[in-house]
Every structure is written in structure tokens, then in C-alpha cells.
């Protein structure tokens, strides 16, 4: 698998660290309650199909990247800097 880092271009999967579902961008407030934290930390949609997850270009520029991909075909649909995605959702 190859992922396109928005800064470095297309790179081998070995250069990236996988964090998990891009839910990690939506951290609840500290006092949001157990259910909100359970949703954020543990519960997952875990789709067989298109998903968005968070990777870091660890052996490259270190940028955090939101990768939209298909978990069944391993097709990568789009990548974007996590910081841009975060700004756009504010």
C-alpha cells in the first residue's frame, strides 16, 4: 500500500504510523461524561467499506494525515493534512 502525504507525495506504507479512526480529531471536553469518552476512545463504527483514519508520516515529514480509504479493497481515495481537516470542521 502507498499513501500520498500532502507534503511529501506518494510514499510507501512502511513510512507511516497508524493511529486509528479519525474520530481522534474530535476529542470531547474533559467533563463531557463517560459515554462521550467511551464513544471517542473505544466504540467504533468499524465499517467494511469507506473509512477515514489518521496516520502520521513518521519516517518522513511527521505530518498527521487523514486518509480516506476502502477497508475492503485497500483503495486510497484521498488524503489531507489533519490540521486542514480540523480547521475546516471548526
Amino acid at each position: 500500500m502507498r499513501l500520498t502525504c500532502p507534503l511529501c507525495g506518494e510514499r510507501d506504507r512502511r513510512e507511516f504510523y497508524y493511529k486509528g479512526d479519525a474520530i481522534a480529531l474530535n476529542r470531547p471536553a474533559p467533563d463531557a461524561g463517560t459515554d462521550a469518552w467511551d464513544d471517542y476512545l473505544y466504540l467504533r463504527d468499524n465499517p467494511a467499506g469507506v473509512t477515514k483514519d489518521l496516520w502520521q508520516h513518521e519516517l518522513g515529514c511527521s505530518a498527521w494525515i487523514v486518509v480516506e480509504r476502502n477497508t475492503v479493497t485497500h483503495e486510497v481515495l484521498s488524503t489531507a493534512l489533519a490540521s486542514d481537516v480540523k480547521k475546516a470542521t471548526k
Binding site: Y18, D39, L41, R44, D45, N46, A48, D53, T73
Partner: protein, 417 residues
Amino acid sequence: MRFSAWQVLKNGLTGNKGWTPHWRSPEPKKEYDIIIIGGGGHGLSTAYHLAAVYGNANVAVLEKGYIGGGNVGRNTTIVRANYFLDGNSQFYSHSLKLWEKMEGDLNFNAMHSQRGIINLFHSDGQRDAAARRGNMMISQGDDAILLDREGVREQVPFLDFEQTRFPIYGGLYHKRGGTARHDAVAWGYARGADQRGVDIIQNCEVTGIDIENGAVTGVQTTKGPIKAKKVGMVAAGRSGQVAAMAGMRLPIESNILQAFVTEGLKPCLDHVVTYGMGHFYISQSDKGGLVFGGDLDFYASYASRGNLSTAEHVIEAGMALMPMIGKAKMLRSWGGIMDMTPDGSPIIDKTDIDGLYVDCGWNYGGFKAVPASGDCFAHLLATGRPHDVAKKFRLDRFRTGVDILDEEGKGSQHNLH
């Protein structure tokens, strides 16, 4: 039909014409007491235990594909009871005891082979950890022997003991550990359940779970609706999708685990050997192939096939540990969809929906659990109460933070196990 030496002899002499199918292929009834979703090892074992131990055979197992087509027929078949944590330790100990009597109970040859497992260690710190684990195993009533380097060398002389990366200091030897024929375990439980009246319905995908007033009433399937008083979800890597039919989200992310096998060779490896530092383990199948694997591909996937980078990593580790495998030709590699929980331990519990139960989160280690998981899940379905050895496998442990079962001490987070 009962298998016996006499039957083998008789059928051998009469052209093998006397063998009959191992289970029926019934049409689904309109209603059952209990429906099991998923005909993998855990689903079949649950159905068998419901009928054989807990006295309820009005049960159907609904399998979307064929029996043995899921992880139960894709794993590297290691069976062991070398867990450390209170909660895991009792459960896997119970499971190994059930393995030891399974073939007699089922009248089926699962080729369970207690050939022994050697977990290697490579530093003083790891030796201490292995001794501690071994003591826990012994105090649980299981077996463990701490081997020094020469002790390991006596048994598996062909390893590279002086390798520069992780020189071998010794190993924790678990004699009762070993392997089994994975398909045979599925077939044996399917046959045993069928003989006791359970309906095993293949090519029957569950497409919906019917819930009225907070209680389950049945399921929708590709063979029509079927009513049930209780429903157990046992879909391993597909647990997330099945739970979604009941409007639930689970603490599970599905990842791929790969395995590899070489051409058949003369017997050369008697034990199961694990090389944790390199993320590699190996055994030799009864057919002669060297069966080996390593770590997950470490990202969410349902592809049933892995990535080259992981294959490369596994094979590098294999060459470092056991250079002679470089002479063997690799025949095949494949992947299975693993239901990974944040702490790496399973879930056997009721849900917030009345009559709906879940058995999942087997990660990369659910084959050895097949007998005990079936026993414990059947106990829960039949009595409404958790089995003593599975009380800690709670669904809400992540939300509450109580009794997280982080066997590997890595942290309770999705990408760590």
C-alpha cells in the same frame, strides 16, 4: 455414525461407500429458542455446549458462508494456556482442559497434538518475566518449565542462538501446549451439535436483527425471517457489522492477520516456537508444511489479504531465528479478519437489548478459546448468568475502566494490540 477402528476397517474394505454426511442441511424452522449468528469455531462450540451441556437443542446456527470458511479455518492453530492475568488465566486453563477431552466427547479426530510450545526470551529482564509467567501458570494448575539456553538448544538445535540482534537466553516451555487441525474442530463441533438436534444452516446471512420494545424477537436472513427468544452474535471479524444491525457500536476494530506456509517437508520441527522479539512464530503441520506468522498488519481492514511490508517483516524475523527455513519454498500466504479490542482480551456478555448476547473480541488468539468460549457463552445464554471463568469478559469494562484485561501490558487503546 460413530467413528471407530472397526468403521475405518470396514469402510476401507468396502470402497469407503458407507460414510454418511456429518451433519444435515435443514431448512430453517420459523422459530427457535436460540439463534447463533456465525458458524465459526465459537458459534458451533456454543451450539454444541447448549445442546450437550445446558440441555437446549432448539437452536440454529446461521452461517453466511460455509462451515470452516472464516477464521476458524485460517488460523495457525496454536492451543495453549499460558496467560497471566486473573480472568484470562482461569479461562484459558479451562479451555485447555476442554481441548484435552474434546476428541473423546465429540468422537471426532481433531488431531489435537500437545507437542509443546517454547516461548523464547532474549535478555535477563525477559527471563524474569518468563519465570513470573511460568509461576502464574503453575499456580493456575497448568504446566511451565523455564529452560536455559542449553535446555532450548537440546530441543531445537537449529535456531540461531548467537544472532547479533536478539541472542537466545532461554525459553518458557509449556508442554501441554500444541496445535490442532483447525477445520476438524469446526467439523467436530458441527457434527456434535447436529447429532443433538441443532440446525446448522449454511449460506444463510443474517441481514437484520428484530427488536421490539427493547427486546430481541428474531432475525432477518437471506432465507427469510426467523423468530427467536434469544440471539447470540458470534461473528468474529464481522462483529461490528452484525452489532450495527442492532444499532450497537462495539469496542472493536477489524484488522488483518497474515499467515504463511511452505511446501511439505519431512518432519523437522517438533514444537511450536515463538520469537516474540522478532514478531514471529512457527510450527510444522502434520502435512509437513512449516506454518508461520507474525504480527497484525496494524490498520483497519476487511481485505482477507495482507500487505507486503508485514510479509517481509515476518520472513526477515524467520530467517534471523531459523536460517534453515530459507531453503524451503513458500507455498501460500493468506489473511483473516481479526476482531481487535482495545485491551486485547475478549468479550462474552449480554447487551443492553433483552435477549441479545455477544461473544467477540478474540483478537489473534481465539482458536485456543473455541471450547471454553462455547461453554461459557452457552452458559450465559442458557442461564442468563456469566460462567465463573468468563466473568471478567465484560462489554462495559472500557466505559467504566474497571478490570481492563491488558494481558500484554501495552495500554488499553485500539492500535496497541
